[in-house]
């Protein structure tokens, strides 16, 4: 530092005083900003009411319920096989992943287990739906920060995955393929080779997105250091999935839980990031997509021979009891608490969805941020409205 002359010091003080005066004169009035109920950044119909002071958010309050379709009540008037048709549609981007915990809970009550072949195929389809889910997130992320190109690439490459899901299950979006005791059908001929080729394309997709988006200086300056969630706060609010892992907590139910799926047959890494900011959340999801490709490729080599369905009675009656099963879904921990009274349908189902807990941190995370950062934080938290309101 060069020495400052007295004159410069005086000039500095004068300019500070002028700034202070200006700040007093420019004091702004409070204003209420309403985002939604339909806004592209909310992936559906979430409404957020913000109280602003100038450009800064004083408090923010999410208002849920615009997509409440009454799943928990509807399951009480459906039979067990019919429930999968409904719960498909909770997290609509990763539909197959929603069926699995419910089916596992019903199987736990009936004390049966799917044959090994069905378990491996279930896991493959589970990971494919994770890829379909997260790849759309990676594309959408760009749009919300003003980069239009990634979304076209995401939609193009996502179609390959949807084609795979469609050729195996018959449904692009809502496969309804899982049955109590196994799967509806076996894989079609040629599916395994096709899947291998698509996985190569998806790795390329991840590389493109990493170049286009994560290497972009504008993207970095808009996400780094924005919306930091420390690990203890994340745990307090019950976050799960990539949002939790981006705060440095190493927790993944795929690895940490004994369950009748085939994740223990694959070798994969659970990525975490120490920063806990918006960039970390997006980055962890990108790495997870790569890991999913890895899991799928490994499991394709290990599909055992055998049936895809155990023996179950034609009319399924689940014995009396209660069961709780949770899995690591694309958005976080999703679980079903099923109470059965020995009838055709469940007596009560409690659904724990990841987005509902993830969104509960919004009032805390939005306090004191600037208006453009609202969108960044919402985008990086990544929720799906069906998953919040159920």
């Amino acid at each position: 530092m060069t020495d400052l002359s007295d004159r410069q010091k005086l000039g500095y003080i004068a300019s500070q005083a002028a700034d202070a005066r200006l700040n007093v004169e420019l004091e702004t009035e409070g204003m209420t900003l309403n985002i939604g109920p339909q806004h592209p950044a909310t992936h559906g119909t979430l409404r957020i009411i913000c109280r602003l002071d100038g450009e800064q958010v004083v408090w923010a309050e999410p208002s849920c319920g615009y997509m409440h379709r009454g799943y928990e009540k509807l399951t009480e008037v459906r039979t067990f096989p019919q429930v999968t048709t409904l719960v498909n549609r909770i997290d609509w981007l990763g539909s197959f992943a929603n069926e699995v915990p419910f089916i596992l809970a019903a199987e736990k009550l009936m004390e049966i287990e799917a044959p090994p072949r069905a378990q491996v195929i279930r896991t493959i389809l589970f990971e494919l739906s994770r890829i379909a889910n997260v790849s759309l997130f990676l594309g959408d992320l760009g749009v919300q920060m003003g980069a239009i190109t990634p979304v076209f690439i995401a939609f193009r490459d996502r179609e390959y995955v949807l084609n795979l899901i469609e050729s195996a299950t018959g449904g692009r979006f809502h496969p309804n393929f899982d049955r109590i005791g196994g799967l509806k059908d076996d894989l079609p001929a040629g599916w395994i080779d096709e899947t291998r080729q698509v996985m190569v394309k998806l790795r390329e997709f991840c590389d493109i997105i990493e170049d286009l988006l994560f290497g972009n200086e504008i993207f970095q300056s808009r996400t780094r250091g924005i919306g930091i969630i420390p690990a203890d706060i994340a745990k307090d609010y019950g976050l799960s999935g990539a949002n939790l892992r981006a705060s440095g907590v190493d927790y993944d139910l795929r690895r940490d839980q004994e369950i009748a799926m085939a994740w223990d047959k694959a070798d994969f890494k659970v990525w975490t990031h120490p920063d806990g900011d918006s960039f970390a959340r997006c980055w962890v999801r990108l790495q997870e997509t790569r890991e999913s490709c890895k899991i799928v490729e490994q499991l394709l080599d290990q599909i055992p021979a055998g049936p895809v369905m155990t023996k179950v009675p034609r009319i399924i009656k689940v014995p009396e009891g209660e069961a709780w099963v949770a899995t690591e879904n694309p958005l976080g921990v999703m679980g079903y608490y099923v109470v059965s009274k020995g009838d055709l349908g469940p007596f009560r189902v409690k659904i724990r969805t990841p987005s509902f807990n993830n969104i509960s941190i919004v009032p805390w995370a939005l306090k004191g941020v600037y208006v453009p950062d609202i969108i960044t934080i919402l985008a990086s938290l990544y929720f799906i409205l069906g998953d919040i309101d159920r």
Binding site: Q38, G44, H68, E159, F173, L385
Partner: protein
Amino acid sequence: MGLVANGRMPASLTKLFNISRSYSLWVYQWGLACCAIEMGAAFGSPRYDVMRLGVIPLPASPRQADFVCVSGTVTDKMAPAVKRLWEQMPEPKYAISMGSCANCGGPYWDSYSVTKGVDQIIPIDVYVPGCPPRPEALLEGIVLLQQRIKNEDMAAKWRGEDYTSLQATNSERNAAKVAASFDADVESAEQQSSSSDPIVVGGGPVE
């Protein structure tokens, strides 16, 4: 638009207007639930590419839109907002209802919180059935809507009447000219004016 305001319009001019209108449709995407993703695939993805049909999926506000695509579950809490946005759109305006939920409630037909059909609150021109409909089905719905616009009698629209096709108006005129004993003509006019019913992609009932 003195001619139009009086309810008169030369047929050739109507046709010209109709062709121009049907190939510059600005659509407001009212995506509510799962179907919104398929709508996004139809409108935003390079594989389906809706712009080749002359549809521009970009307006940020309903005040600039020609038609609205309601896709997904309309809940009772959301219904007032849907109605309000429909009222904000300038005439002439059209609506496509995409997916079983928007058509009739879909898988939630017995739910306590879902509006059983968006046609209870806004008039619908084209229904696209499916849960969710493939993007191709939505594109077909749009093509059918364009045909409907091309056949529309604009003067009738500006008089505030329901949808009237050009053929229906012409045959009505003819029927009035010819003596009433020509029952066949009158009947055919009635048949064609029944085309003011909404279109269902793939035929069949709305459910």
